[in-house]
Amino acid sequence: MRQRRRTWQTLLATTATLTVAAVALTGCGGTATEAKSTPKAAAASFEGKGPINYVSNRDASGAANKSIEEWNAAHPEEKVTFIELPDSADQQRQQLIQNAQIKSDTFSVLNLDVVWTSEFAANKWILPLPADAVPTEKMIPATVNAATYRDSLVGAPYYTDGALFYFRSDLLKAAGIAAPPKTWDEMKTACKAILALPEAAGMSCYTGQFDKNEALTVNFSEAVASAGGSIVDADGKPTVNTPEAKEGLNLLVNGFKDGMFPSDAITYLEEQGRRAFQDGKLVFMRNWPFLHASLSATDGSSKVAGKFDITSIPGTDGPGVSTLGGRSLAISPFTPNKATALEFVKFFTSEEQAQKRLALSSRAPVYASLFEDPAVVAKRPFFPTLLTSLNNAQPRPKVVQYGATTKAIQEEAYAAITGAKDTDTALNDMQAKLTELTK
């Protein structure tokens, strides 16, 4: 018995000694979060030159790489390395946050989705930019708004995106409707006339994106904003228990109830909607501009090529309000070469570079003037409509806890459109959740 105890003692002692040694060596000794010495954000100065890393989502067009190559050729001492993140936005955000939490200096310039702006700024994971860093007066106002946190610009708008309303111009003509609908009521009337046509047999009226996903937040925000409401007010307090919000959500709820939307639209994301529209199953669709090319394809893959047109999304009393997509560039406070980072951001988001990138990339620039360039419009016919849409666009709720906020919105809006909750209950529950999140 004593033998055995001795054995165990040796075993434990050896193990314990080795563990302590190893832990001390690897430096994973403590998890306690000491109060960090927080540099006052406003006093940020941009100093230090040298190589930096630009971390971003993928750019399949190669346009971003071209800009970087041009920079690197002119600045051999301050080379920029392109770090590509996974395609999933959630994973991008996670990697960016993890790097910020350990104060890693690997990521110098961050490419942020517009909805992450508030979260990153409030956590001091990005630096406020000097007032003259980017020519905001030339940019579409909504994109500047989306890159602003509490009156200070924290990101340089890079590219943007807005909703387009796709419609079957051939069927509208056949039904004798002169202009595309500007309001939901007009759309309903138009649908009635069109679906009565023999060539429209089996078609549905409209779809957006209604699966429980970020896209539902987009569609809900647009419905509410188009009815004159908002999700949060200017002070960041939730306002979804208003009559306007109710009217907005009811547009979607009744769309499903009245059979105006196909019943399987509850599983639609962008792609499913595109397929349905492309196969000629829908008269109207709210979607992003990137579909325009595949819908116009004349190789036989699209049944609606040449038979559709685009305009702004409908509202309740006039054109609706699009939400804003897109990205902006921000600078990490943990990079030693902040001067280079700032110079690079200025260079990369300049109008000149934006124009050069248009040759390769279909991503919409943030400079209004570029949308009207005839050479550009010839290549991207949807640009003028998109500009109208963007000029009337609103960012999605600008809240710090965006992840939890969008989840709460999706949860309740989904419950309402599937009929699990009535509109009032869903909106009251949403208001309660958002109040908790924006406290």
């Binding site: 055995r4 054995t7 109060a35 599983t267």
Partner: protein, 358 residues
């Protein structure tokens, strides 16, 4: 295991002891210390990769980030100690509802999928256990679903189950498989069973193939039919393998994450499992409650594993056989070792010991 428990030859010859029966654990001092030294690197690695993260998660689950913003709109980066509040929250209010829902989903998926997999896996194994032309080909093809990465199979099934997909076309139905509701549960179960039944099938097949042919021959001579052979020979003899396979599947199913995540989507309550919930919480930067979810899941898995091993007697590590052996005298020990040598995976050390005492 074998290398670390085998007493070094030097220790054996250096400390001579009387031949005859020897109890386990009764070692000479040098031997014991040596064993401890040899074991400690293993324990060290285990401590670093298992114990430390576990304790760290438990520690994290006792803290919570301060909510709210300061006057300048910045998030305070102080985490305060909240004791067991994160755990208490698992049972009340909105987060309690989500936790219980995820808990119920996890349990439901585990029970249904493991049951169906076991039945299907057994059938597969029985089918493959016969000698017929093209058996190697069949065996390889049955393994294909298991070889497909779960996320990819999730995408495949998502394609099948989309509203205008093959499933609805074949059934002539208009079921929205990927929307909230029972259909999505069914979709997950189908995809999961498709993917993992081959695992059980192959493990059970391996168990069946070590059953000696003479046993069946004898049974046939005694006039036992196919069913009798199945009930009296095949099933009892593959039981140990089957139980281990089922245990592995249960532990896997309790941690289910990627299939519902890819097939149905995150945030769908009908299919949200505990792992998905923990992922979601950490994604919202609420590491405290995420850790609490993870610790609860860990405890749940541990309890299920222990209960399963105790009640059904799944002999996962071969410990039971060792214990049986150690209780017997050397003579019996030798006999038992000889008898079970073919079936049991005795460690080399014990065999050596049995020979040494001979």
């Amino acid at each position: 295991m074998t290398t670390t428990t085998a007493p070094p030859a030097g220790a054996q010859t250096g400390t001579p002891h009387a031949p005859g029966p020897r109890k386990r654990g009764h070692r000479s001092p040098g031997e014991g210390r040596m064993a401890a030294m040899l074991l400690s690197p293993t324990l060290l690695v285990l401590a670093l990769v298992i114990v430390y993260p576990l304790l760290s998660a438990v520690h994290q689950s006792l803290f919570r980030a301060e909510s709210g913003l300061d006057a300048d709109g910045f998030v305070s980066d102080v985490e305060s100690f909240v004791g067991l509040a994160n755990y208490a929250d698992l049972f009340v209010g909105e987060s309690g509802r989500r936790f219980l829902n995820a808990f119920a989903n996890t349990t439901f998926f585990t029970v249904t999928t493991v049951f169906l997999e076991t039945v299907l896996g057994l059938c597969l194994a029985l089918a493959m256990n016969r000698a017929f032309r093209g058996r190697p080909f069949l065996r390889a093809s049955i393994l294909v679903p298991w070889a497909v990465p779960t996320a990819v199979s999730g995408l495949l099934w998502r394609w099948i189950f989309q509203s205008d997909g093959i499933a609805n076309t074949l059934l002539g139905s208009e079921i929205l498989w990927t929307a909230e509701g029972n259909a999505s549960k069914l979709a997950v179960i189908i995809a999961e069973v498709w993917k993992t039944a081959p695992f059980i099938g192959l493990l059970v097949l391996a168990g069946m193939q070590v059953i000696p042919g003479e046993v069946y021959e004898a049974a046939r001579i005694d006039g036992a039919g196919w069913w009798r052979q199945l009930g009296s020979i095949t099933l009892p003899l593959v039981k140990p393998t089957l139980l281990v396979a089922v245990l592995f599947r249960m532990l896997d199913a309790l941690r289910m994450f990627d299939l519902p995540f890819v097939l149905i989507g995150p945030g769908k309550e009908s299919v949200e499992t505990l792992s998905m919930l923990a992922w979601d919480e950490s994604n919202q930067l609420r590491y405290g409650s995420a850790s609490a979810f993870a610790v609860m899941l860990f405890l749940y898995v541990a309890v299920v594993a222990i209960v399963f091993a105790k009640v059904l007697g799944a002999d996962v590590t071969g410990a039971k056989e060792l214990k049986l052996l150690s209780k017997k005298t050397a003579r019996k020990n030798r006999l038992a070792a000889n008898q079970t040598q073919a079936a049991a995976d005795l460690s080399n050390a014990d065999q050596k010991k049995a020979e040494a005492t001979r």
